[in-house]
């Protein structure tokens, strides 16, 4: 492994509470319920509304704030691109590095494994399944469940909503199956 700068991760005891504060701040600023996946619905409503009732609503009124927030998340990424050098290492646990290398991932630097998430990888069966298939599952699943990590796991659980607990158990069931069954299959075949 080339000697790359190791990134200093924001510790959980700062990161978690700061993330959690978005719930009360959005409520106090404008009675908005913290959630991000609604953006996918609002974009569909704006671009391809006619086909389904699900997309027939005033997206500017109900989704305008959410689209602005989502655009901000993108801008946050842009801002950080200027600050984090490419190729830096995360301070991952040695166990995780060993497991991922055993799966055949050679480069464990950067935020995402470049050998799996690149335009070249998209042209492989494995890359297409992971990026296009994974994206479809994220979009379909969050719309069906009515929320994602922010809406259900953080907002919903913090408000003691039982449906959100069911959804979060689903998130983890799917995530564990994907991690322990699907990914080893995909990474092992080398297609």
């Amino acid at each position: 492994m080339p000697a790359a700068e190791t990134l200093q991760v924001l510790p959980w005891y700062l990161a978690g509470p700061l993330i959690g504060l978005f719930v009360p701040v959005l409520l106090l600023v404008g009675n908005r319920m913290f959630g991000v996946s609604g953006n996918l619905r609002h974009v569909c409503a704006a671009v391809l509304p006619a086909r389904a009732d699900f997309f027939r609503y005033d997206w500017r009124r109900t989704g305008g704030w959410n689209l602005a927030f989502g655009a901000g998340v993108f801008l946050g990424g842009v801002a950080m691109a200027l600050r984090t050098p490419e190729g830096s290492r995360l301070a991952l646990s040695p166990d995780a590095v060993a497991s991922l290398q055993a799966l055949g991932i050679r480069d464990v630097t950067g935020l995402v494994p470049r050998e799996l998430f690149s335009w070249e990888a998209l042209l492989t069966v494995r890359g297409a399944v992971m990026m296009i298939g994974g994206g479809l599952l994220i979009g379909f699943g969050t719309a069906y469940a009515g929320g994602c990590t922010s809406g259900h796991a953080i907002t919903g659980l913090a408000d003691f909503q039982l449906p959100s607990l069911v959804a979060v158990i689903g998130f983890f069931a799917g995530g564990l199956f994907g991690t322990w069954v699907l990914l080893p299959l995909l990474l092992g075949t080398g297609v």
Binding site: A15, G16, P17, I19, G20, L21, F22, V23, P24, V25, L28, G30, N31, R32, F34, V36, S37, G38, L40, C44, R51, A52, D53, F54, F55, D58, T62, A68, G72, V73, F74, L75, G76, G77, M80, A81, L90, A96, S99, L111, V112, G133, G134, L136, G141, T142, A143, Y144, A145, G146, C148, A158, D159, A167, G170, F171, A173, L176, F177, L182
Partner: protein, 166 residues
Amino acid sequence: MTASLTESRPADHSPMSAPDSKPARSSAAGLLVYLGLGTLFGSLLIKAEVVSWFRIQEMFRFQSPHMYLTIVSAIATAAISLQVIRWRGLRTLQGEPIVLPPKVMGSGTRYWAGGTLFGLGWALVGACPAPLFALFGRGFSVFGVVIGSALVGTWLYGVLRPRLTH
């Protein structure tokens, strides 16, 4: 005493309703506030590395407490904040009462089935929706394809919704 802020009002999460249209359309200045908050949130997600495929793998493999502690402390902070809002009867800056629409359980199918499908995608991509936007901004341009696929997935749900169990 239940801690929920919920009231009986049309819910975003009831299967047949459009998103809850609470306040009026945001003004341009209001949108800028949300844009700024989103920018902070996106930066925070990257700085905490929760946008990282590696960190998500570490979490689902139970090889580091980082993600769990981050998520649990986020939930705890949000829960305590909601209690404070409720106990003090805090209102929005515009003076409206604060309301969180309840999620309707129904048969529960949409939550476990939709949740599981999303979880599969989360493990493959290593990112949920907000991290997708942050990574795209961070310069991982191929994540634009993932976002495009997610839009198609949501659109498919909208089209198929009348035939799905909720």
